[in-house]
């Protein structure tokens, strides 16, 4: 989020209109430099405190201090004879000969500020690819974690069963995930006042790995040095998880390497200790654990939840040991304990109440499958329960004391307990064909299936139709002019950013039809028709006769294969059109609407919009040839309309003219290089043409580059 703010120049800084270059970094630089000089001016306006006589004046010499040349007064506090302390404090300066920085501060006070922000800019460049330039192919509906959390917390307090509200789907960025992980793990150290470091690490890392499980925590911000090794390790494990032809093999190889390491216990332990210190192995273990969970998640399992449950259960138990009734009422702790009981699960980065409905099914199935066979997960959990990581850690510690050094025993125990188990089990399962086949691509297929399922269930369960779902954690909230910002972002093609800014706008002005309309278009271009429809419906509420809105609603509903709704809006377009309104007859239904539009087209053949609507209508009735014809006519009138080229391409693709479609998409992309929808469509067309799908992938990667 910090980065996002940097790029946008922060809430207070408007991007100067002069930023001519399309290069976002150029704009960024302008934004930073422009804004910083502005804030400097503003700062001069800070009112010098001028307390009136009636106001309490506690620092009568405040002005004196400010105006005094710095450097002249700092010795004063030290010249307070009689206090024994001053000797001590004076020593700060006199003990060593190093006076390098002695006057640095004071010089700084008098000297002019150096050229603005250059170091900041450097830093920004260092941050690597700017995330908002990444077009997301499946603009997932974002939902509000906080409202859900709070409503959950409220309801649980009253002792009422938690009513599954429309659930937040949280498009957590990598940064957000890192936030959750780092913050929770740091905070947990404060909650568990009594527990050992290892125990806390164990609890929290396991809990958090479930949140991170899907993560592509690749975009690294700067991290403190102490985590770097672990971080690399984590990256490694993530890289291994990338679905690819040889993913399984690589994973297994990787694992074997570790086993080899384990096989030589002393060396392993020693070298490890050297690297990470005595406690490091526990964290290492956590990492491995999360790796396991990642692996499982790839197979469509919700092992993460099992493990997270186990961990939170322990966490909750620990907290529950405090019998202060106040503690038992804490909503925060209830949240944790609810999670531990499996009443809440974390799935795809959403906190969900566990239900047996729709999307829960596959998880359940998976668990059944698990229960049928030898269950290493449970075994693992049980093993952990009975041995308890802290106990286990303590054992280790005491053993270490006894023997003075790490001996083979615990390593053997360790591998016997956990590592061999799951490794064999994994092998067995692969061998038994739980995945249907041992080959790597089946494995990849399974992952694809799982993804599809996810998408499907998302579409069913979420976004109860027409309800606009706001993103959580909107950095533009509080922005002075989010509409302007949103328009700028939109024109620059930063759709995800534009969406956020526009959401901030419509939150501020819910009746702003233009804000809603742009938001709808941004979603439509980002290939999210559900949200587009929801936004457009709000736009229509605010301004029921806006033609652009009606047309957009018609198109989006067409995309969602909702004929009746699409026709309704397209008819509405006609009815509210000042020219064609006369054609509208109150009872027109169904495809007779098309006839009306044909009449309209004859009335004014030079009106591209009519042809567009006709094209959409023919798409609805699957008369693709006619649709293509209409779009071509419209394009003659409006050759620069990139979305029109995309419509033409989509229609051609639907009528199995992939080659033509690609040409049309290419036109759209020439006009608007970061038009997500066209890229997606083009990819599909290529795929249909037996082109490699990766073409799309690579092109998108290119787009990401500044």
């Amino acid at each position: 989020m910090a980065m996002r703010e940097l790029v946008t120049g922060g809430a207070a800084c408007a991007v100067p209109g002069s930023s001519s270059s399309a290069n976002p970094f150029g704009a960024l630089a302008n934004a930073l430099i422009g804004s910083s000089s502005k804030t400097q001016e503003r700062l001069k306006e800070i009112p010098q405190s001028t307390p009136t006589a009636s106001e309490p004046q506690f620092y009568p010499d405040a002005h004196g201090h400010l105006q005094q040349l710095p450097g002249s007064e700092f010795e004063q506090p030290f010249m307070q004879p009689g206090t024994q302390s001053s000797d001590f404090l004076r020593n700060f300066n006199s003990v060593d000969g190093n006076r390098l920085l002695d006057n640095a501060w004071d010089e700084i006070q008098t000297s002019q500020p150096p050229p603005m922000h250059v170091p900041q800019l450097d830093r920004i460049y260092d941050l690597g690819p700017v995330p908002q330039l990444q077009p997301t192919l499946d603009g997932p509906p974002q939902r509000v974690l906080s409202s859900f959390l709070h409503s959950f917390v409220e309801s649980s307090r009253g002792g009422m069963p938690f009513r599954p509200a429309p659930l937040p789907v949280l498009g957590l960025s990598a940064g957000d995930k890192r936030c959750i992980r780092d913050r929770t793990s740091i905070m947990a150290r404060h909650f568990f006042a009594d527990k050992s470091e290892d125990f806390i690490n164990g609890q929290v890392n396991a809990l958090l790995s479930s949140l991170d499980i899907e993560s592509d925590v690749n975009s690294k911000g700067p991290l403190p040095a102490r985590f770097r090794e672990l971080e690399d390790y984590w990256n490694e494990s993530q890289a291994i998880m990338k679905p690819g032809a040889h993913a399984t093999e690589r994973w297994v190889t990787e694992f074997n390497q570790h086993r080899v390491d384990h096989g030589d216990p002393n060396a392993w332990a020693h070298s490890f200790e050297r690297q990470h210190g005595a406690n490091g192995w526990a964290s290492e273990f956590e990492q491995e654990q999360s790796q396991l969970m990642s692996a499982d998640h790839m197979r469509g399992a919700n092992m993460a939840n099992l493990a997270a449950m186990e961990q939170t259960r322990m966490l909750a138990n620990t907290l529950a040991q405090n019998d202060d009734p106040k503690f038992q009422k804490s909503r925060f702790l209830q949240f944790v304990s609810k999670m531990s009981r499996g009443e809440l699960i974390i799935d795809d980065n959403q906190v969900k109440p566990a239900t047996s409905s729709a999307s829960g099914d596959w998880a359940g199935e998976y668990q059944q499958q698990y229960n049928a066979g030898p269950n290493w997960a449970d075994e693992y959990a049980r093993g952990e329960l009975s041995h308890g990581p802290n106990q286990w850690a303590n054992e280790f510690a005491s053993e270490q004391e006894q023997h003075g050094s790490v001996d083979d025993q615990w390593v053997n125990q360790f591998s016997k307990l956990h590592v061999d188990d799951w490794a064999e089990e994994f092998g067995n399962q692969v061998g038994e064909g739980i995945l249907g086949d041992t080959s790597a691509d089946t494995w990849a297929n399974a992952y694809d299936e799982y993804l599809n399922e996810q998408v499907a269930s998302k579409q069913h369960s979420d976004a109860s139709r027409g309800v606009y779902v706001f993103s959580d954690m909107n950095p533009y909230v509080g922005h002075p002019n989010p509409l302007k910002e949103g328009q700028d972002m939109f024109h620059k093609g930063l759709l995800s950013e534009a969406v956020l800014a526009l959401e901030a706008e419509v939150l501020k002005n819910p009746e702003n039809a233009e804000g809603w309309r742009l938001l709808g278009i941004a979603h439509a271009e980002n290939d999210d028709d559900q949200q587009a429809i929801a936004a457009m419906m709000r736009a229509q509420e605010a301004d029921p006769t806006n033609l652009e809105v009606l047309l957009a609603l018609g198109v989006s509903h067409t995309n969602e294969l909702e004929q009746a709704a699409a026709l309704k809006y397209l008819y509405g377009w006609l009815r509210h059109h000042q020219k064609y309104g006369v054609l509208a007859q109150p009872e027109t239904v169904g495809f007779f609407v098309a006839r009306l539009f044909n009449e309209a087209a004859q009335m004014s053949p030079e009106d591209a919009d009519v042809h567009i609507v006709l094209g959409v209508l023919y798409n609805l009735s699957r008369e693709y040839d006619k649709a293509i014809e209409s779009f071509r006519l419209a394009l003659k009138l409006k050759p620069q309309d990139y979305s029109l080229w995309n419509k033409l391409g989509a229609t051609q693709a639907n009528s199995v003219q992939s080659a033509d479609a690609i040409l049309a998409y290419q036109q759209a992309l020439d006009l608007k290089p970061n038009y997500v929808r066209a890229w997606a469509n083009m990819g599909i067309s290529y795929a249909n043409q037996k082109w490699i799908l990766s073409h799309l992938y690579f092109r998108l990667q290119e787009l990401n580059k500044p």
């Binding site: 506690f58 913050r183 905070m187 404060h190 405090n322 959580d472």
Partner: protein, 324 residues
Amino acid sequence: MPVFKTPFNGYSVKFSPFYESRLAVATSQNFGILGNGRLHVIDLSPAPLGPAAPHQPITELIAYDTADGVYDVAWSESHDSLLVAAIADGSVKLYDVALAPASNPLRSLHEHTREVSSADYNPTRRDSFLTSSWDDTVKLWTVDRPASVRTFKEHAYCVYSAVWNPRHADVFASASGDCTLRVWDVREPGSTMIIPAHELEILACDWNKYDDCCIATASVDKSIKVWDVRSIRVPISVLNGHSYAVRKIKFSPHRQSLMMSCSYDMSVCLWDYMVEDALVARYDHHTEFAVGVDMSVLVEGLLASTGWDELAYVWQHGTDPRAP
């Protein structure tokens, strides 16, 4: 005494050094783990003038939304309307309550690479302030410079708090998760003193307002320790009584030996470290972790606290914070 409901979980509360009725409350969504933040500036209203007017004990002057949680806030010692906010996204933001909302934040300083955990305004040299961060550093800033003056990087883990010495404009102390308290002089290249004050993480520290060599530390080990920086081998006093980690510690501006603390045991305590039975009072008004406390400089005995129960309380010592 008045209660103020915040939409998010409270993180910090600070009395204005200029107006006895004014406070700032820093809050964060979702317990500060993920989400937005909000900075409230509130006023304790005087008693109603007419009998018909419903008495609103606390009015909100203004609130500022932020993209990430607000972990701490500090009032400027030189400008009565200026606030420094420590934001969880690593930024430090300056707000001027007197300016139009559109021109706020006045400045957004992005240098810390992790959550900013505390902000403290220099009470003697009133153009500068300190921020501490989970990126293990403390940074020194002045209001007129767009970049930090200095970065103090020695701690090996999160720095939860950095506090100026009330008398010496160049001396401050920092409390860190690396279990050390460090005392610094900004004119020196490194820390002047390292005190391994606790066995567990140190979450807060504060200087005695009457004895410039006396400093208190609050730790995850549930204790508060009071130190004399001239002889650091043993603490002057160890205060036990909290049953969970002690989150903040604050010396009274009015009485030399009086301190106020809050803890993850949800209580707020007052201590007198010089007497045998140190615990002066325990307030149990919060229903979630109590994480922010302050004592008014202008009104003796006026206390404030906030916590994750989304409430900020202001009350006179000796009265029930929850009394209407």
